[in-house]
Subunit: 347 residues, 2 copies
Amino acid sequence: MKRGEISQPTLAYESWGSLNPGKDNAVLIFTGLSPSAHAASSPLDRATGWWEDMLGPAKPIDTNRYFVVCVNSLGSCFGSTGPASINPVTGEHYRLTFPVLTVEDIATAATHILDAHGIDTLHTVLGSSMGGMTALAFALLHPERCTRLVSISSAARSLPFSIALRSLQREMIRNDDAWENGNYPLNGNGPISGMRLARKLGMITYRSAAEWAERFGRERATDRQAAEHGFGIDFEVESYLESHANRFIGSFDANCYLYLSRAMDLFDAADQGGSLQASFAQLRLKAAMIIGVESDFLFPIHQQEELAMALQDHVEQVTFKRMASIQGHDSFLVDMDRFRPALSEFF
Amino acid sequence: MKRGEISQPTLAYESWGSLNPGKDNAVLIFTGLSPSAHAASSPLDRATGWWEDMLGPAKPIDTNRYFVVCVNSLGSCFGSTGPASINPVTGEHYRLTFPVLTVEDIATAATHILDAHGIDTLHTVLGSSMGGMTALAFALLHPERCTRLVSISSAARSLPFSIALRSLQREMIRNDDAWENGNYPLNGNGPISGMRLARKLGMITYRSAAEWAERFGRERATDRQAAEHGFGIDFEVESYLESHANRFIGSFDANCYLYLSRAMDLFDAADQGGSLQASFAQLRLKAAMIIGVESDFLFPIHQQEELAMALQDHVEQVTFKRMASIQGHDSFLVDMDRFRPALSEFF
C-alpha cells in the first residue's frame, strides 16, 4: 500500500437548499466513518437521513437559508470512489491496490464539489467524528475557502487508545478467512464474521457504560439463544450488539472500512506545520465551535478542549460546548435536545 | 452447558509462611481471570510471582506473620480442574462438557483447602478483579469463615459495558475456526488467532487512555511490519499489544478462558439475598477495605464506591481507597508505590 493516484474519481454528495447569488451561503458537511451523504431526506430521496433532526427547513442547519452539501468520503462505498470501486485504468476493482488514504485526501477531494458550483468560500465547514478531522484538515489545507468551522466529537489527532481500538477492529476483519486478502466477492458476502466483531467493538466505543447501565442493567435477553455450547446470547446488551452488527455488515464494504479506519489513525493536524500551533497559524477562520461530550471515551473531552484551546490563539471567536450527554461518542446522533440548541446558536 | 457436578476436582494452590497454633493467621487470595496461584516466589518455585512486590517476608502481606494461600481458580488451567482437565468419569477432557461455572463455585471450591489445613476462620480473604468478586462471594457463602475482606479493582456485580466487552472476547475465540466448537488439540495450538484478538481487547480494557498517551503518544513502531496489504503494525501501541498477546496465547487454554469470562458476567452479589442489602446482611465481616482506581473503566470507581457504601451498613469498619493511578484496571499489578502502603495499612 503506497501513496499514489487514482484516475477520474467520483464523489457522491447530496445537497439541500439553494446557493444564493453571492454564493456565500454554502455549508459543507463531512461525515464519520460509516454514514453516506444522505444526512436528511429530500424530494429526491425521502428516506430519513442520519441527521434528519438537524438539517432541513427551519431546523438548526436551516436549508431555507443555507445551501447544504454533505459528501460521501473518498474511500467510502456509498457512491464515492473507494476500494470497492472499479479502477478505470485496469477495469478491475481497486480493492487493496487503492492507494493509502488520508483524512487530508478526503478533505481535498471535496474542493471539486465547490469548484463545480463556483463556490469560492464556504459559510461553514462542519464535521462530526472522523468528519471533524476532515473539516479541520479542509480548513488547514484550503484556508482561503473557510471562515467558520464546526467540529463535533472529534480531535486534532488520533491518540494511542483509539488507534489500538481501530487497529484491533481491522485485525478482526483481516483475520476472517473470508477476507481473502481483500479479494472477497463484492456481492454482500465477504468477511461478515470479522465485520460483525468490528462493528460490535465499534458500538461499545460509540456509547457509554453509564447509558448501558441505565438502559440494559443486567436484563436477560428475550431472544436468548441457548446455543448448544452455552456461549450464546444471555444478556440484553448482547442481543442489542448482535442486532446492530447484523444491520451493518450487509451495508458496508470491508476494504473501505479498513482504509477509512486507518486514515483516522494517521491523522495529526500538527503534520501541516510541524506543531499544532504552527499548523493553526495558517488558518483564516473567523469563528469556530468545538462540541465535545463528557461521556465520549473514543474522542475524549480533553482532546476537544485541547483543540478549542489551540484554536483560540488563531481564531477570533472560539466557542467550546461541553455536553453532559450520557450516550458517549454517538450523542450527536441521538441526544438532539442538547445538540439542536448548540447548532442553532452557531447558525 | 448446564449446572452439574464434577468428580474429584483438583485445586492447585501455593502457600507462604506458617499457620500459627491458633490457626487464625491465614490469608486467602483469589486471583483475576488469568493468573496462576504463583503470586510470589518461594523456595519451591523461585520464579517471580505476579504479586511479588506485595507478598513475602516483611512485605505488605508479611509472610513472617501470615500463612498466605493463593488458589488457582476452579475452571482455570494452572493445576486446578477446568475444561482442559480430564474427566475421571469418562477419561476424556471435559472441554465443553464442563458444567456452567460461577464465581460462587470458584469461591466454595476453596473451602476444601481451608478444611485440609484445619482452618475454621480466615484472617483475611482478599481478591483483585475477578478475584475480588470471588472473595466477596466467599464471604457471602461462608460468612462464619470470614472476618476481614480486601477487594481490589472489583465490583459487586457485572454491568452491561463489561459484559459486552467480555461477550465480544468470547465471540472472537468462538469465531476462530480453529476453536472447533471446543475440540481443538490441547497441545498449544487451537484458536490462537481468536485468543490473540481477545487478549488485545483485554489489554485495551486493562490499562488507560491517559497512560498510553503518555507512554506511546503517536510513536511509530520500531519493528514496523509493512505487510504487503498495508494493514500491519505502524504505531508503537500496536506493537505493544502484539507482543503482549503473543505471550498470552501459548499459556492459557481457550475453553477455560470462555468459562471464567462468562462466570464474571453471571456474577451479581445480590443473587445471595434478592438485593445487595439483603445479601450483605448475611456477612459477619468486622473489617473491609475496598480499593478502586480512578482510571479503571472495566471495574469503574463508582462501582467500588457502591460496594463500599453497601458494606457500610453491615460491616463495622469499612475503608475505601480511591487510587489516582493512571494504569487503569491493572494498576494493582504495576503501581506498587500506591498499592503497597494501602495493603500495609490493612495488614
